[in-house]
């Protein structure tokens, strides 16, 4: 029996919250902005913050970032397979060649299609992952998995884990901000950016336009400014009196502080949300002046401003609810050309501008840009078995994402799918590996960033996760 006498980290952490003999540790934890176990952060972080562009509905990789010359050759042929294929609608038409032309881009010569002409110009800054794979070909579980490492409701999202692991850089802004597509939130709604069992201060905070950019930021009804301020003063005085009477109780001190920070947020959020100090040229670069790109342009620019102010993790969704007609997401069952032209048109220029802007400000050095989707789309059409229909079904077996910025090896494509883009064959990348790599870039050991919940020390990466060393600078 090897009963170590020094308490294990788990014990310490556990008793840190609840127990004995770890007094100093307890208050340290409470004082620190990050509550995560200390030894989780063992590495020198490359990334200090990240912006995550999350495509809802499944982007076709064979039409965008995964060039497959063979697919052209086999266009109209049948993909002969005996296996039971895990599709969503289960209709397997004939193979369909790409709908956009691919070209080598930049010095790196990365093959990117004309679906994203502006992002393509930034090819030398991208690290394309061409062998992503998912466990589910169904929207909700797939989106949950991409975000939280689990296919179910009730697990903290990557942003929450990073908030938990890294803590606040700027106390007067939330650590994790969510910017939804104007057309609506993804189907999974609030659960998508939930902190689940992590303390609720790690939850994604939705920032929207209008008078209340954050829920309850200002009084719900019009109040006299002086009244508001006088009431705040009054509360402070009374609560301070209370603190005097009780002695320095950590919970009570925290409460007092929370009111100070709340007041700061009332200035810092409108400040960061205003584009007054952004030049017309900058706004134009993001495409804010054009109807098609205005929504994403605004969010990308706001994203950059939030990053500058020290927000840890920003999540931008491209696409709202997946079902419906016309589609308001990337779920191109009916017609990829039609759907993806619209969807890519909304985000291509703004994202390229974001990359360029981060780069010219030197921020790409320590900022990570993530571009992901739930799953890819099939190389064959979603149509009758003897037809080449214009739509594609979900493909969980292989698809593309990209990363850029802090600590990444730029201008490369990593991994590969088979010759038609159907399945990841060269270094398949499950989401756990993706997440492990992101945490690694933040200087966090994904096996050590844990939180006890109902019997298990939970991790973003469950019991998996291999870092993609090959894509690191």
């Amino acid at each position: 029996m090897n009963h170590s006498i020094t308490p294990t980290r788990r014990d310490l952490f556990h008793w840190g919250i609840n127990g004995l003999a770890a007094t100093a540790f307890v208050s340290l934890l409470n004082r620190e902005t990050a509550a995560a176990p200390k030894d989780a952060k063992t590495l020198v972080p490359k990334a200090k913050r990240a912006i995550h562009i999350c495509l809802v509905g499944g982007m076709s990789h064979v039409d965008s970032f995964d060039y497959k010359p063979e697919l052209k050759k086999f266009h109209g042929k049948s993909l002969k397979t005996n296996e039971e294929v895990d599709l969503f609608f289960g209709q397997m038409g004939l193979l369909r060649k790409e709908d956009w032309q691919f070209k080598p881009r930049g010095d790196s010569g990365l093959m990117i299609s004309d679906m994203f002409p502006h992002i393509a110009e930034m090819a030398d800054d991208l690290t394309i992952l061409r062998s992503m794979e998912s466990k589910s070909a169904n929207h909700t579980p797939a989106l949950f998995l991409a975000n939280s490492g689990f296919e179910f409701n009730g697990f903290p999202s990557m942003g929450s884990w990073i908030s938990y692991g890294m803590g606040l850089e700027n106390e007067s802004l939330p650590a994790y901000v969510v910017l939804n597509d104007k057309r609506g939130a993804p189907n999974t709604g609030e659960s998508t950016w939930s902190s689940a069992f992590l303390p609720s201060n790690h939850q994604g905070v939705v920032l929207r336009s209008g008078k209340q950019p954050v829920r309850d930021l200002f009084p719900a009804v019009k109040l006299n400014k002086e009244t508001d301020e006088a009431t705040r003063q009054f509360i402070r005085s009374i609560n301070q009196e209370h603190l005097h009477r009780t002695g320095a109780d950590a919970a009570i001190v925290d409460r007092l502080k929370s009111y100070e920070l709340a007041a700061k947020m009332q200035t810092s959020i409108p400040e960061v949300s205003s584009f007054a100090e952004e030049s017309a040229a900058t706004q134009k670069m993001y495409g804010i002046h054009k109807k098609q790109t205005a929504d994403m342009g605004r969010r990308c620019l706001l994203g950059r401003r939030l990053l500058e102010k020290g927000v840890r993790f920003i999540q931008l969704f491209s696409g709202g609810p997946v079902a419906g007609n016309p589609r308001a997401s990337w779920d191109a069952h009916e017609n990829v050309k039609e759907n993806h032209t619209i969807e890519a048109g909304r985000i291509d220029k703004p994202i390229a501008a974001l990359l360029q802007d981060l780069k010219q400000r030197g921020m790409l050095e320590d900022t990570l840009v993530l571009f992901t989707t739930e799953f890819g789309r099939t190389p064959f059409a979603q149509s009758a078995a003897d037809k080449v229909g214009p739509g594609r079904d979900h493909n969980r077996y292989g698809f593309s994402c990209w990363m850029a910025g802090a600590g990444m090896k730029p201008g490369i494509a990593f991994g590969n799918t088979d010759e038609i883009g159907w399945k990841a064959v060269e270094r398949p990348i499950p989401w756990h590996d993706f997440h492990a790599t992101v945490l690694h870039l933040f200087g966090i050991n994904h096996e050590r960033l844990t939180f006890y919940h109902n019997g298990i020390q939970r991790r973003l990466t469950n019991v998996h996760g291999d870092i993609l060393k090959e894509v690191l600078a």
Partner: protein
């Protein structure tokens, strides 16, 4: 070596505590000195069972066991192990140096991540050199607790012990047995308990703990004036009798069983009839139902009492999420089903047993003695699991209903005889006078379908989709096609549909003759055939929000067209007509929907978009019309071409003599009041309940690695074997009926010999009283959970709980009567407190009362109570402070700002859909009901302060609070201020506080003070 000590009970329980670690240091050193060194000298014989087996079990078997061991090497069985694996023989008796096993262990190659300690290595080497003699074979990986996992000797799996409270000397502190245990531990650590809290603090603590509501100033004053022991006891007794007790503790239970009122996942449909479970829980707790009955009812209430109660109680099974979009392939469906079973087993195991049995789905449990096979035995026991709604009849109400219906039908037939006679005379007179039939009303749009799909009045021309065509003056719909019109260019609220329909068959279900809807199909109203009740016409609508049965009659006509009309009135009444005559009874459900100009279209043959499923109609439509107003019965009759036979009520009344008129009036008024009574009673007599709708029990196989495509052996419904003295065998065959599987499971869980059952619940109750459980992981009494801070106390309470018939209220009484519970939070001197904090900062030893932040619900309820607005109505459908929007197949829940008595109810009655958060509750850590929440997190964030300052509910409550104070405290400002303070925090302001309050009120008014009071530490935190 330490093993010997590890298995002894009390020490094992204390393993994690600090001084026990210290104790271990000493023991380890002593044992080392005494045994190891002399042992080395004497070359003692290694005992395999005691020394080697534990090493194998804790370090090797995770990979080297089972059917597919790593490297082909299994170390469970002597013969297999000695034969070796893929690399040949690994253990060469008497030759450690020549044994591959030793070589790899010595080089730290094995075990791969955590090499063996020097001591372990030495023991292993010695054992091989001594001849590698085995003891018991095969090794049982679960037999003993090791440093990495729990065995069957794990503390929480052992039978309950009857432990006497310790004799504590040198202190007269304490009121009951609990205190003896607590004081004993405090003394051993050189600590002392805090004095009793002051009466005000104490009574507030009691109220919030037991009821989740604050005491009134009067209740506080009464106790503060005479804070005797008798008075305290009396208050406790009264509170435990209060109906609010069940609401407070029911909310705790609902956290654990993750009760939510929507499906979760992509569609997240609302469950409007799930509240019966919530009400059942509250009622059962108020009735102090013994805990074993309480649990049995939730598991097999359908078999025990059946009826409404049984259906409501078994809502337990369907309280969690349910995926209704599982994809097309068989594999996806199976995976979704397995996920659901796992989710329910997780909740079941953690709720009732404090074990994470769900962790054994893909492999043996990594930390607790539960095998993968046992997981599937449990899965088999619940394999009939199904979500759905049941209609349950309440016998008493049914009897009343029958008698009302009988009386009603008598009166109706009297009336119809009277009216028929009058009508007959009128029609005869009409025919004699040759009065012209009234003209039919003019529609907004009308489709003749004679030669095209065009609107003959306006421009709502139709377009055929699919094979819809015109033939012989009728629109032919083949069940796969439909007609859609141009967008409706005006807003539509009140409306009437009319269609002359000839059905192709009477068996079809769900198609619509005519429908109006938003262009994406998210919202619609339609004349639908047979969707809910076969052969009946009904008003179709999105999510059935404006749908109910007309209780008309079954359609018979297929050879000729019938005229069907549905009228939608502004206030929400919907009336059906068939061939110009009222069809059944009007219905009224949700308010009418306002369709926006330009976003709406009319469909024929399709219930709503997108096309597909059962939404198509197979029929001929001869003609159809749409009106942007509600037609009168006369107009419907005229339009249906039945007006010559239609006599209005007015005409009838006019034709009667005075006496008959009076008589008719009396009958009519009786019918009216009986109809109201019938509807009321009918609602109570036929309850729709979202509950377990069990299917057949399924033959269940072990799924290797949890993969549905990787099928292993068949298992029988059964439990797990690790609980000492409790058989896991249900004596059932793999194909046993569903009911008996679930019954056996319920019997096993609630079995007298199941120690977890009592321990876990006692600890939960303790947890909610103190904010921290004796075991601080209330859902996990396994290896990964924490060890009890007061193991004997837990044992004592569990034993008493069981011995007293699992009644919860006596346990509450015991706890709140203890001196431990009554301690002040800030009662020690500064020196005493510093000393205590240096030893036990987080108060695990209970040297003081804990300061606790109110839970989100208690905070909201307290505001309602303080303002005097709290509506104490219990039970029934949930109140809604979110809008329910169906958009593209997904339901969105957005917080809305609502006010009024309906929403002033306690928060436990709030409609609680998953993802349907409320800004106020959310920031105060109210969990989303996606997984079981045994312990809420308590955070302090700026967003919280923002909510409590700015949320519309808080601001409104501040105004109401001020109004109340003004009306009760008179005009004097000081009196008002003092009254407000007393209402909010049960004390008067001191001089300084009064002065600050005066300054605020005089400049900014009373609402500002009230808003301030809600933000006081003392309002939000309870000592």
């Amino acid at each position: 070596m330490v093993l010997v000590n590890m298995t002894s009970f009390p020490i094992e329980l204390f393993r994690n505590s600090f001084w026990v670690r210290r104790y271990f240091i000493d023991v380890t050193i002593c044992v080392s000195l005494l045994l190891c060194q002399p042992a080395n000298l004497l070359a003692r014989q290694i005992n395999f069972d005691k020394q080697i087996a534990p090493i194998f079990v804790s370090h090797c078997l995770e990979c080297h066991s089972g059917a597919e061991p790593e490297g082909g090497l299994s170390l469970t069985d002597v013969n297999i192990a000695m034969n070796g694996g893929d690399s040949g023989k690994v253990i060469v008796a008497n030759d450690a140096a020549g044994s591959l096993l030793w070589e790899q262990v010595n080089d730290d190659e094995m075990p791969p991540k955590h090499p063996l300690s020097k001591q372990e290595k030495a023991t292993l080497k010695e054992w091989i050199d001594q001849g590698a003699k085995w003891g018991k074979s095969p090794l049982d990986p679960f037999s003993i607790t090791t440093s990495t996992r729990a065995g069957r000797d794990w503390w929480s799996l052992k039978p309950l012990q009857n432990i006497n409270p310790p004799q504590v000397k040198g202190s007269d502190w304490g009121s009951n047995q609990i205190d003896a245990f607590v004081l004993n531990r405090l003394q051993k650590n050189g600590l002392q308990p805090s004095p009793e809290a002051d009466p005000r603090t104490l009574i507030r603590r009691l109220y919030f703990d037991l009821l989740g509501l604050p005491p009134t100033p009067e209740q506080v004053a009464l106790f503060v004036a005479a804070p005797s022991e008798e008075m305290y006891q009396l208050i406790v007794k009264e509170l435990l009798m209060s109906k609010h007790y069940g609401e407070r503790w029911g909310r705790h239970w609902l956290d654990v069983v993750r009760f939510g009122e929507s499906d979760g996942f992509e569609r997240n449909f609302p469950r409007k009839n799930a509240w019966h479970y919530r009400d059942w829980i509250i009622d059962a707790l108020n009735a102090d139902m013994p805990y074993d009955d309480f649990v049995r009812m939730q598991l097999i209430g359908d078999q025990l009492t059946g009826g409404i109660e049984g259906a409501a109680a078994t809502g337990f099974w369907v309280a969690g999420v349910h995926n209704t979009t599982v994809g097309g392939s068989e594999r996806m469906k199976q995976l979704a089903r397995q996920d659901e079973i796992e989710e329910v087993l997780a909740t079941l195991g953690q709720t009732f047993l404090g074990l994470t049995i769900n962790c054994a789905r893909c492999h043996e449990h990594k930390f607790d003695p539960v095998t993968q096979k046992e997981y599937y035995q449990l899965a088999s026991s619940i394999s009939g699991l199904g979500h759905g709604e049941r209609v349950e009849q309440s016998p008493g109400f049914q009897r009343t209903l029958t008698s009302i219906k009988r009386r009603l039908s008598q009166l109706q037939s009297e009336l119809s005889v009277m009216d028929a006679n009058a009508s007959k005379e009128i029609i005869e007179a009409r025919q004699a006078e040759k009065i012209a039939a009234p003209k039919p009303p003019v529609a907004m749009a009308r489709w003749e379908f004679d030669s095209d799909f065009n609107d003959s009045i306006g421009n709502l021309n139709g377009k055929a989709i699919g094979n819809a065509k015109i033939e012989n003056g009728a629109l032919i719909l083949d069940g796969q096609s439909f007609v859609e019109t141009a967008p409706v260019q005006r807003d539509i609220a009140e409306k009437t549909f009319e269609a002359w329909v000839q059905l192709e068959n009477l068996e079809q279900r769900g198609g619509a003759a005519i429908s109006i809807g938003t262009r994406n199909g998210g919202v619609f109203d339609a004349i639908v055939f047979g969707e809910r009740t076969p052969k009946h016409w009904m008003p179709g609508s999105n999510g059935f929000v404006r749908t109910d049965s007309f209780n008309g009659f079954a359609e018979e006509a297929v050879t000729k067209p019938v005229h069907i009309a549905i009228v939608y009135k502004k206030e929400g009444t919907i009336i059906g007509y068939r061939n110009g005559i009222a069809y059944g009874q009007p219905i009224r459900k949700s308010p009418i929907f306002n369709y926006k100009a330009g976003e709406t279209e009319i469909l024929f043959g399709l219930r709503h978009k997108p096309p597909g499923g059962n939404r198509f109609l197979k029929a001929k439509i001869h003609r159809a019309a749409f009106y942007d107003r509600a037609l009168s019965p006369e107009e419907i009759a005229a339009s249906a071409g039945e007006s010559s036979k239609y006599v209005s009520e007015k005409q009838i009344v006019e034709s009667l003599d005075r006496k008959q008129r009076e008589q008719r009036k009396v009958i009519k008024s009786k019918i009216a009041s009986l109809t109201v009574a019938r509807d009321e009673v009918s609602e109570k007599a036929n309850l729709r309940i979202y509950t377990l709708t069990a299917g057949k029990g399924k033959k269940t196989n072990v799924l290797l690695r949890g993969d549905p495509d990787n099928v292993g052996e068949v298992v029988s419904p059964a439990a797990f074997a690790a609980i000492e003295g409790l058989s896991s065998d249900f004596g059932l065959a793999p194909d046993a009926p569903e009911k008996i599987r679930r019954r056996k499971l319920a019997e096993w869980i609630t079995h007298h010999e199941n120690p977890l059952f009592a321990r876990v619940m006692v600890n939960r109750i303790w947890h909610y009283h103190f904010g921290v459980g004796i075991v601080d992981t209330p859902n996990d009494f396994g290896f990964n959970g924490t060890r009890p801070s007061h193991p004997e106390l837990l044992e004592y309470l569990a034993w008493q709980f069981r011995a007293n018939g699992y009644r919860m209220k006596p346990l509450h009484r015991l706890i709140v009567n203890s001196s431990t519970y009554r301690q002040a939070a800030f009662g020690l001197t500064k020196t005493e407190r510093q000393k205590a904090e240096s030893k036990d900062a987080s108060n695990r030893l209970l040297w003081r009362g804990n300061v606790r932040r109110l839970e989100a619900e208690a905070l909201r309820d307290a505001m309602l109570a303080v303002t005097g607005k709290l509506n104490t109505e219990m039970g029934g459908p949930s109140f809604e402070d979110v809008s329910v929007i169906l958009n593209k197949g997904t339901t969105y829940y957005e917080p809305i700002d609502v006010d009024g008595p309906e929403v002033w109810r306690r928060t436990v009655y709030r409609f609680n859909p998953r993802g349907g958060r409320s800004a106020l509750l959310d920031t105060f850590d109210c969990p989303d009901s996606s997984t079981t929440t045994p312990r809420r997190s308590v955070t302090t964030t700026p967003l919280q302060s923002l909510s409590l300052m700015n949320n519309s509910f808080v601001l409104r409550m501040s105004d109401y609070f001020a109004q109340r104070v003004k009306s009760k405290a008179g005009k004097d400002e000081t009196a008002q201020i003092i009254y407000a303070w007393r209402l909010a925090i049960a004390r008067q302001p001191n001089e300084k506080e009064l002065e600050l309050s005066r300054q605020l009120v005089s400049k900014h008014g009373l609402p500002a003070l009230c808003r301030g009071l809600f933000n006081f530490n003392e309002f939000v935190m309870i000592e």
